[in-house]
């Protein structure tokens, strides 16, 4: 991994102004956003936050019970959000958090009302359009007690970008008996460097499901969201699907702390190196009983590359139940031959097995998004064999 010098990037001066109708954006940008799950028609969406480079271009809630604001506006309106802002991520963690703290460009503030079950997802896209742009964003998600929310957040970069840096802070609060499904689709370019910093907390009976999809090349990405289950019966599940073609360096993982009785944590990652490097981390800490954690980290190397799986378990009390399963390997010849005996040629068989391996199904995404992801997987298979 190369050292990232933030001085190479422009952190000021690129703001577009309001785009009232997302359909008016140019076709290439729309295509990139579609790959990140953004529906420019805003049909079947409960709200949208879209930022291009250094500022918001579109922000609205389309459904009662969910508030969608520009973080800057939310900070002004709610006295700086002292209970939330910079409580889950340490401002002084590294140069990237300091950059985001020092010069905030935007980000979303999404909050549900107590008891509100928001059926349609809220969508967000943080888009990098200008060359050598550095983007600082800070997102806050609050899912109030007894409410439910699905956020689909895509990050994209304009086609042909010569380079860009995305530094994103996200702080997540899941209330009592609340449920948040947070689906993040990263759609970067060979030249993009990415440093998200995410932390969150789940209260009693709350559920946090995190889906992460990275299928496109990225120069250098490092992310390690950390979730603390602080209330009795809280649950967290991370599902990640990561493909690293040649030139990609991806260092990613998730961390769950089981800090209350009856909590459950699960981390499932499926990674494929097709020329690139993946460091697949995972950490589950069990600090209360009864508590259960399971980590499953499976990687395939198809057409070169490196996968370094680092599953970690830490139990600090009697009676905690933590387990992990890690594997790095290749597609079993036996499976390929089985499918070939059913009439699939070698390529069909391999791609069927790879699709099953990545198993995007378990994320339970909206159909059109699932289709987009499936077709991106088919495309990225060209690098694999």
């Amino acid at each position: 991994m190369e050292k990232i010098d933030l001085k190479d990037f422009r952190f000021t001066g690129s703001t577009l102004g309001e785009i009232a109708d997302l359909r008016t954006m140019d076709a290439a940008d729309k295509a990139e956003m579609l790959m990140s799950g953004i529906d420019v028609e805003e049909r079947d969406r409960a709200g949208t936050y879209l930022q291009v480079d250094h500022g918001r271009v579109h922000c609205k809630s389309l459904q009662q019970g969910v508030e969608v604001l520009d973080i800057k506006e939310a900070l002004a309106r709610y006295d700086g959000l002292p209970e939330y802002y910079w409580t889950q991520v340490d401002k002084d963690k590294d140069e990237f958090t300091r950059s985001a703290a020092g010069d905030l460009h935007g980000g979303y503030f999404i909050r549900t009302e107590k008891g509100a079950k928001i059926a349609e997802p809220v969508q967000s896209c943080l888009f990098l359009k200008g060359d050598m742009v550095g983007q600082n964003v800070h997102n806050i998600i609050i899912v109030a007690d007894d409410s439910e929310l699905h956020i689909i957040t895509g990050c994209s970069v304009a086609h042909g970008s010569k380079g860009a840096a995305h530094l994103g802070i996200t702080e997540i609060f899941v209330g009592k008996n609340a449920k948040l499904t947070f689906t993040m689709i990263h759609n970067w370019a060979e030249t993009t460097v990415v440093r998200p910093r995410t932390g969150g907390v789940v209260d009693e009976g709350g559920v946090f499901v995190n889906n992460y999809v990275l299928l496109k090349p990225v120069k250098d990405l490092q992310s390690y969201p950390a979730i603390r289950l602080n209330g009795r019966g809280a649950v967290a599940r991370f599902n990640s699907v990561i493909v690293a073609p040649a030139g990609s360096h991806v260092d990613t993982g998730s961390r769950i702390e089981l800090n209350a009785p009856d909590t459950k944590g699960e981390i499932i990652s499926r990674t494929i190196a097709s020329g690139g490097t993946i460091i697949a981390r995972g950490f589950i800490g069990g600090n209360a009983v009864p508590a259960k954690g399971h980590l499953e980290c499976k990687g395939l190397i198809l057409g070169g590359g490196v996968i370094h799986a680092i599953p970690e378990l830490l139990g600090s009390v009697d009676g905690v139940e933590l387990s992990h399963e890690a594997a790095v390997g290749k597609i079993a010849q036996e499976e390929i031959e089985y499918l070939m005996a059913r009439g699939l040629d070698e390529e069909e068989a391999t791609s069927t097995i790879v699709r099953g391996f990545l198993n995007v199904d378990i994320m339970g995404l909206p159909k059109e998004l699932q289709d987009v992801i499936e077709s991106t997987i088919s495309e990225s298979q060209k690098d694999m064999f």
Binding site: A341, R342, G343, L344, G356
Partner: protein, 253 residues
Amino acid sequence: MLRIEDLHVKIGDREVLSGINLHIADNETFILFGPNGSGKTTLLMTLMGFGNYEITKGRILFRGHDITHAPIYERARLGIGMSFQRPPTIHGLKTRHMVRMCARDSEIDVDALARKVNMDEFLERDVNAGFSGGEIKRSELLQLMAQKPYLLLFDEPESGVDLENMKLIGHTVREVLTGGIEPKPNSSMKQQLVLKRPVSGLIITHTGYILEYLNADRGQVLFNGHLCCEANPRNILDHISQYGYQECVRCLN
């Protein structure tokens, strides 16, 4: 349908099949017997074209094509269908999707087929994931019904199957082999067979339970890589259960 000529097969350095000659006619079901380790599974795997089985001599002709060196999928598309004894689990691939892929371009009613073999509850499960022995057999048959092969290769349909499921499997194998045509009083079986697509079978059995459900025409014993003792399958079975395979040694020498 199938003609095997002087087939020699090696696994690693070891010759497992030594000069097999076998002809299976259209609409004929051939039963293969033989002691453990004699090479029966090897013969089936070689016919399907699996990688570990090296053909050092001889030819395999299937419906007029020389498939001796054809890739597995080509054999499958020409119409060879095999029921696996211990198929691998394919994670993330639903049985429903698998069955549909077996049918390739032809339209099938997956649910209706699945109901026939009591597999309707398994369609949304990953292929073979945690399936019991009997469930695997039914799942394999379901895939074969979708695939509609001309030649059905079945390795020990009885193993791991309870009596009730044996009946289901027996009837289903029969249906795959006859293409669903049963004898009718008003037209002769022979007439009907002329009209339907030909389907043949090559079935390995130790117990012979499957014979109760099929019109098995011929059988033979595979002993130590050689085929011998051609006869009616029931007679072979009776003979083996009385005298064991010792007789084969005599007959070969």
